[in-house]
Amino acid sequence: MDQISWVVVYPEIFLLVMACVILLADVSLKATSRPLTFTLTLLTLAGVAAVQALYATQGEVLFGFGTMVVSDPMGNWLKCFAALAVMLTLIYGRQYSADRGMLRGAEMHTLALFALLGMFVMMGGHNFLVIYMGLELLTLSSYAMVALRRDHARATEAAMKYFVLGAMASGFMLYGMSMLYGATGSLDLAEVSTRLARGEVDQRVLALGTVFIVAGLAFKLGAAPFHSWVPDVYEGAPTSVTLLIAAAPKLAAFAIAMRLLVEGMLPLSADWQQMAIVLSVASLLVGNLAAIMQTSFKRMLAFSTISQVGFILLGLVGGVTGMDASNALNAYSATMFYVVTYVLTTLAIFGAMLMMSKTGFEAENISDLAGLNQRTPWLAGVVAACMWSLAGLPPLVGFYAKLAVLQSVLAVGDGYLWLAVFAVMLSLIGAFPYLRVIKVMYFDQPTQSDALHVSAFPQRVLSLNVLTMLALGILPGGLMALCAQAIARLLA
C-alpha cells in the first residue's frame, strides 16, 4: 500500500502542468494570438475528461500515495463530468467575459483550471486533509474569479461576502475534521470508518465533529440555513463566473459528501441522516418559497438551487436504517444521478443567459426574457426545457431525478411518508417561479424586437447540451445504471 502509484494522479499532474503552461504562454503571446490560450484550455479539458472516462470505464479501484488518494469509478466519472462542465462554462462565457474585459490575460482560464484541479483533489481524496486541501484550492480560485472584475462594485462586494463566509465554512469543516482526528486518531477515511465501527471512541467529541463537518458541507452545498451567501454571490458575480460556481463544484460537493459521510463516517449515519432531514426540510422551504418573490433571474435561480439542494440532501436521508444499509446503493446512486443531471441543466440555463447578454447589457432580470419566443424561439425553447426539468415535470430529466430520490426515501418505510409528501407539495409551490419564467417568455410581448445574434460555436454546444438533456429525459436508464455501478464500487 505504501507505493506512490503515480498513475492515479496523472490527470491531476497534467492539469497542473497545463495550467502553468497556459499562464506562461499567455505572458509571452502577442495580443493577436491570445485565442490560442483558449483553444489550449479547451483541449486540456477535453483531454482530461477523456482520460477520466477511460479510467472510469476500466472500473478499477486504485490507491495512490499510500492511501491518500483513490481512483474509483465514482470519483473518475465525477471528474470527467466536472471537466466537461468547466469546458462548457468557458465556451458559453467566453464572449460575455471578453465583452466585460475579463479576458485581457488568461487568468480566467488558469483560475478555472486550478479550480478544476481543486475539485479533482476533492473527488479523489481519501484522507481528511487531502480533501480539505482540494476544497481550499477550489474556493480560493473561485474567490479570485468572482473578484475578476475588480472595478465593478457589486462583483467586489460579492467576492468579499463569498470569501468571508466561505472561509468560515472551511473553518467549520477543518474544526470538525480535527475533532474526528482527535477521537479516532486517524485522518484516513477507511481507517476512521473502521475505528468508528469498533465503537471505542468518545461519543461527545464525535457528535460535535459530525455537526461541524455536516455544517461545513451544508455551507458549501448552499443548504438552508447556511444559504445566505448563495443569492448574493450568484447575483453579484459576473454571470460567466456564476456558472463556474454553480455547476461543476456541485459535483465536487457531492463527492466529498460521499467520501466524508459514507466512506468515512457511515457508522455515524444515524446522526448525520437526522441532520440531513433538517437541512433538507429547511432548504426546500426557503428555496421554494423565496424563489416566488424574485424579480432577478439570477437570484431566482439561486433560490432554485437551494431547493434543489434540499432534494439532493433528501437522497442522503434514507441510506441506512439502524444497522441495515441495504438501501444505501439505491439512495446514493439516486443522489448522484440528481446532481449530475442538475449540473447539466444548470449549464444549459446559464449558457442561455450568457448568450442573451450583450456588451453593456446584462440579461439578469426575469423581465429581460419577455417575449423571447418571438425573438429567438430556439433560445426560448432551451430555457423552457430547463425550467420544466427543474420543476420536475416528465418527460424531462429532472423528473426522473426527483423520482429516484423519492423512491429511495419511501423505500425506508412508511415512517418517511410525511417527508416525501412534504417534498412534493413544496415542489408544487416551487413550480410557480419556473412557470412564471415560461409565461414571460411565451405569453408576454417582447420589449425588444430584434432577434439575438449568437455566434455559431457556443450555440451548437448549447444545442448539444440541451439535446443530451432531452435524450436523458426519454432514456435515463443508461446514466442511472452508470451511477448505480459507481456507487456500488464505493460501497463495496
Binding site: N373, Q374, P377, G381, W388, L393, P394, P395, F399, Y400, L403, A404, L406, Q407, L410, A411, L417, A420, V421, V424, M425, S427, L428, A431, F432, L435, I438, K439, Y442, F443, L475, P476, G477, M480, A481, A484
Partner: protein
Amino acid sequence: MGLLSLTIWVPIVFGILLLALGSDNNQVWVRRVALIGALVSFLVTLPMFSAFEVGAAGMQFVEKAPWIERFQMHYHLGVDGISFWLVILTAFITVIVVIAGWEVITERVHQYMGAFLILSGLMIGVFTSLDGMLFYVFFEATLIPMYLIIGIWGGPNKIYAAYKFFLYTLLGSLLMLIALIYLYNASGGSFDLATWHALPLGQTPQTLLFFAFFAAFAVKVPMWPVHTWLPDVHVEAPTGGSAVLAAIMLKLGAYGFLRFSLPIAPDASHEWAGLMIGLSLVAVIYVGLVAMVQTDMKKLVAYSSVAHMGFVTLGFFIFSEMGVTGAVVQMIAHGFVSAAMFLSIGVLYDRVHSRDIAAYGGVMNTMPKFAAFALLFSMANCGLPGTAGFVGEWMVILGAVEANFWLGLAAATALIFGAAYTLWMFKRVYLGAVQNENVAQLNDINAREMTVMVLLAVAVLAMGIYPKPMTDIINPSVAELLAHVAQSKLN
C-alpha cells in the same frame, strides 16, 4: 414498430417537425403539414378496427420493451375494450381541431399545430400505457402543451387560466406519484399494472392509495367540488384547446379511475363508493343547476361538461356491468358532443368576438345551415334518443335503477336540467328575431367549418343510432374488470 407505438409517435414526430421547421413565414406549408400529420395519425389507428378481436377481454396489440431497467420500468403498451375507443376518439378529435384552427390562428401557427399534435400523441400514450410510470409520464407531460396553448392563444385572462390549470392538476398528480412509488416498493420493485392489480393490500394502504389516486383523477375529471378550475380554463382557452380539454383530457381522469383506483384498491373503492356516488350526484344535479344561470356560452358548456362527467363517475361506482359500460360509452359520447359544442361556440366567437349569450339572438335567420348543426349538437347534449348523448346516460340510469331506485330517479331528473340549460341557451342564441347589428351581418359557415360540422354530426348520429359495435367492444373488458373488482384484495 407496433401499431400502438405508431399511434403515439406519428403525431409527436409531426409535431416536432412543425416546431423545428415552421415559422410565421411559411404558414401555408405549416397548415398543410399539420393536416397531413393529423390525418396520417388518424389513419394509423384504423388497422385497429380490423385487427381488434371483438369479444376478448384482455389487452391486445401488446408491446413490451425494457425502458429504465434500474427501476424495472417497461415501455409496455396495449389496448382493451375500455381504451380502444378513447384512442380512436383522440386521433379523430385532433383532425377536427387542426381543421378548426386552420385560418382562425394567424400567429405562431407552427407552434399551435405542433402543440396539438404532440398533445394528441401524449394522450394516446396515457390510454395505452400498461406500465404505471409510463402512464404517469404521459399523463403529466400533457400539461406542458396545454399550458402553452392556453397561455399563448387564450382569451384576455389567459395567464390566470394557464396557471390555474397547471397548478391545480399538478397538485393532484403529485400525490399520485407518491402512490405509484409506494406501489413500486410494496410490489417488490415493479411498475407493471397487471402486477399491481394482483397485489394484495390491507385496508389502510388501500384507502390511502384510493385517495391519492382520487386526488389526481377527480381533479382531472373534474368531480365536484374540485371542478372549479374547469370553467375558468375553458372560458379563456382557444376554441381548439377547449375542445381537446373537454373531449379528451377530462377522460384521462375518468380512465384513471378504471385503470388504477378500482382494480388496485377494490375494497377501498367499495367502501367509499357511497361518497363517490354522492359527489357524482352533486355534480349531476347541482352543477346542472349552476349551468342554467350562466350568461357566458363557454362557461355554460363547461359546467355542462362537469355534469356529464358526473354521469361517468356515477356509472363507475355502482359496479354493475350496465353502469360501467354506460359510463365508458358516455365518455366517448361526451368527447364528440362537447367538442362539437365548443367548436360551435368557436364558429360564433370567430365572427362576433363575444361569448355572451346576450350578444346573440336570432342567429338561425342569418346562419341557417350552422343553426341546423347546432341544434343537432344541442339535442345530443340533452341526451335525445338517436344521438350519442342518449346511449351512455340511459345505460348509467338503468344501472343506477338496478342498484337503487331512488339513485336512478335522482340521476334521471338531471336529464331534465340538461335539457333545460341546453335548450334555453339554444333558444336565446339561435331562435327569435335578429337581435342586433352583429348578428345581422353574420355569414353562414364556409366549406372548412362545414367539414368539421359534418364529421362531428356523422359521429354523433352513428353512435346514437347503432351503438352496438361500440358496446360489443367495451363490454367484455368491463365485465372482466368488474369480476376483478368484486374480489377482495385484503390479506
